[in-house]
Symmetry: C2
Amino acid sequence: MHILITGAAGMIGRKLTERLVIDRALNGQPVEKLTLIDIVAPARLAGFSDHEKTRAADLADAGVAEKAISERPDVIFHLAGVVSGEAELNFEKGYRTNLDGMRALLEAIRKTGDGYKPRVIFTSSMAVYGAPFHHTISDEFHLTPLTSYGTQKLMCEAMLTDYTRKGFIEGVGIRLPSIVVRPGKPNKAASGFFSGIIREPLAGQEALLPVSESVVHTHASPRSAVGFLIHGAGLPREQVEPHVNITMPGVCCTVGEQIESLRRVAGDKVAARIRREPDELVMRIVAGWPHRLEGKRATELGFTVESTFDEIIRVHIDEDLGGKFVA
Amino acid sequence: MHILITGAAGMIGRKLTERLVIDRALNGQPVEKLTLIDIVAPARLAGFSDHEKTRAADLADAGVAEKAISERPDVIFHLAGVVSGEAELNFEKGYRTNLDGMRALLEAIRKTGDGYKPRVIFTSSMAVYGAPFHHTISDEFHLTPLTSYGTQKLMCEAMLTDYTRKGFIEGVGIRLPSIVVRPGKPNKAASGFFSGIIREPLAGQEALLPVSESVVHTHASPRSAVGFLIHGAGLPREQVEPHVNITMPGVCCTVGEQIESLRRVAGDKVAARIRREPDELVMRIVAGWPHRLEGKRATELGFTVESTFDEIIRVHIDEDLGGKFVA
């Protein structure tokens, strides 16, 4: 099996690659070849064979999508895209990368005209939903994104369904909840604090909390995100089509509950490193975000996620901190 | 006020133009200038002044959208598009006309960069919904189109919202129910029979009914469709934003009820001109279509529609048949 990962240098792309390199298989089928592309060339991992290639490429550039599929990958994990904050700040770049890049990929596949029909696993986002919400967002709740990022994800979801229905691809759209704890440096994303209030204290640093502890959100670990993608790639088509975009399950909790989890897992001293510094702008942005996802269909389809936020913290300590933290 | 109508040669475009030429005003504001474009040059109507222009133009062609807005129309009715059946048969043409044409228009507006911010009234469709449905489709039901046409309409709706949110336009998306009775010749659209079983019998001709009389659908007259567009153009922005796409109300009834209406309005002899000829393909297509729209928000916003199918038939007799039919 030949697997192509776009956006392979991103956080989920790297973790997916690591998993595939370790497993050497996808849902029981041996992986013989792995192609990784991103705007910057993804790092080669230890354990890579000669049948694994990495390349810097922008799918929205002319000819790039055609080249990306020229060796007919059986499975494509399409993770490439700019994040929410960047799509909001740079309108043209957001549409170009998130919409045109995906469309170029789908069009390249359609135009092969030789019966080539890869499985395409696309990472969408809960950003396809927009306020006002009910207590819980059901699988049948309308799609009214309130960001450019969410708009582009919705447009891509719609194409994924249509190209699947027309027989050009076998699409699966994975609508991710908020993925925490993101390893690495803090970033400027408005959602950054959801990871920051866990990551920084565990690293012995102070973290700022810009919103109220009553804010509710739905989370999954990066490990679960990789699990979603792999499970999605293996689902029988009759369980996926025609509505190929699936809202993932997650751990719904308040920020206060996140902090209590941190206290249970790492102790009072760690939890005390969170400093409350209300930020009106962040509060206003977060108020428009989806909070509590039901994810009923996904659960019925066998997608699994952590059952507590404690587990999500432990995944971070295990996977990104080598089992240790600054007590 | 300068009004631009794209797709002005189509059925709704023509009826909207007629209404504006008669009213010489839009929601109380005088119309000084009218620009009509379509793939084929729209016919000039009697009563046109020198300030009204018609032009053949394809918005998806380079430079056309820029030219269309070069005189800064205050209100744009964007009706241009290929219909459902054509978008299904010709995949590339559907995306080009329905998606790229709209995007070119929005981009041309955005790129003026001089504070130009027209009101853009876009005709969307109930095709943004896909089966399975509940008894009634509420305003919060998810958007899962099962046709290329519905996919393109959904993608355009999403852009309309985003360009509005970013302050480039003042968008309103009008999700039309099935518009009947369409005047003119029968066409090959799978939905054609909804008009055909009324139009042909009233013209003294036989009509074929390919589906069961129990099929439920939501209808509005072309006159109501024009009313929706005009009302939508005049709504206060705070009532429209941020969710600018609004599902219109309609008359929900079965095909059997449509036929009973025809009998009441035009007599037994006319209703007897309908011949049952079940068509498996049409039945299968229609089964995936939205049936009963609630349209609650639209009603609250003051959009009005016929209250019975009898009225819809009478609008056709009045508007398209000069008050007469073949008894």
